[in-house]
Symmetry: C2
Subunit: 228 residues, 2 copies
DNA sequence: TAATGTGAAACCGTTCACAGCT
DNA sequence: AGCTGTGAACGGTTTCACATTA
């Protein structure tokens, strides 16, 4: 939330172009837009000046029709007979996905997964700033991983009062997940990326995206078994 | 593939109850079945002897109707007027998802993420056996992480000829992703869990599930921004 | 001309409502 | 009496086909 106000000018919700677009954007399209963005980044880096729906579709493995439908939701942004300008398109998608905003993110639980996430280069790049990490292991507190200092979980409230994080990454053991999730909500984060194999139940104002590694492997096993 | 033959008796594809069920099972339902399975495991551990669609739905945050629809695809497995037997239901779902089969999995790329995945307890539990890990860093080769020995990536072909892995986990840097993915395909894995932020293109016989951490954060940011 | 943007149709998955069992 | 299993209605997403425009 806090990261959004004031957004240059302050349109009323009804006029806000973001709201208008976001409102009728297929859920599945959001995930794809993120992938287009990723590929456009590469195209821009490679100096490509034009890309059409067939090419872009090939890069993320979807049909040209899907690409055009997804992109047309941003408003007319392509040039008929030619294609899309990677730079321009990337910027438009980025704006919709919240890139360009500097999201303040905290991570809870510096086990091996938390450790890996702290070292992951690729969050910063998209505007996700890891502001702090928390753990309750005395040996970890005070150390720095990936440039992020590990703080005492016991002090999370005070630190977050100062930091004002937008998002939280939950990488704690399952058992402490519900309790920590509640804490994150009470601290006031607007969204949680949940790596624990547990459904966390929170007030609707907190968005949750789940990443269950074991579950993904199970999906893969099924896909293999069914060979789709 | 190898993990499947011979499956007790050998029904023709048309008669194979798995194929019949799997064929018309909504993609999204597979992910949910994995979550039901997870929760049922907990219920069984807690000694619960009956659960109905409303309760199970609450545990994975979906409607009772969705639960019933998903479970009815397994064939009639509940008791009308009562609910479902956790143990029995868990077994049925497990069979469909390929639990009970011992999947042989290899992991390529022992960076911090690969390291975390090797330490992740929860794969074995579901029947995914990490048979070997590979890296090309001399300092890592020969070490053991999470009980798994790290082998020289240069020797992957020979080792896999012996191991005969079913699935591969791709946790290498982006740049080497395409090359390593091809190698996995040529080795004969049937599925790849891809942690690299890159679309890998392989013959259709190889199933791919992508887990793009940055992309998940972006989805979260959008969900927050749009506060759905 | 070549590729976008978009109505309209087809498809798929979810929700509803209730018949059918236990 | 209560909850499952499921036909039928619904809503959302994808595909198709083409009018539109640089």
């Amino acid at each position: 939330m806090s990261a959004f106000d004031p957004p240059e000018d302050s349109p009323t919700p009804a006029e806000d172009p973001f709201r208008r677009i976001a409102a009728d954007l297929p859920r599945a399209a959001v995930g794809r837009l993120s992938l287009y963005y990723r590929e456009l980044h590469r195209l821009v880096a490679a100096g490509t000046t034009s890309v059409n729906s067939r090419e872009l579709g090939k890069l993320v493995d979807v049909s040209p029709a899907v690409v055009r439908r997804d992109l047309s939701s941003l408003g007319s942004v392509g040039r008929r007979g030619v294609g899309y300008r990677p730079g321009e398109l990337m910027e438009r998608i980025g704006k919709l996905l919240g890139s360009g905003i500097r999201w303040k993110v905290i991570l809870i639980g510096v086990g091996s997964l938390g450790d890996a996430l702290l070292r992951y280069r690729g969050f910063e790049q998209l505007g996700f700033h890891l502001a702090a990490a928390f753990d309750n292991d005395r040996d970890k507190i005070g150390r720095k991983i990936g440039g992020v200092r590990i703080e005492d979980y016991g002090l999370i409230e005070g630190i977050c009062a100062a930091v004002q994080p937008d998002l939280g990454i939950l990488a704690v053991p399952v058992d402490s997940a519900p309790e920590v999730a509640d804490k994150l909500a009470s601290i006031g984060v607007s969204g949680i990326l949940n790596f624990t194999p547990m459904t966390i139940k929170l007030p609707r104002r907190v968005a949750v995206i789940n990443v269950d590694l074991a579950s993904e492997l199970q999906r893969l096993a099924f896909a293999v078994h069914a060979n789709r």
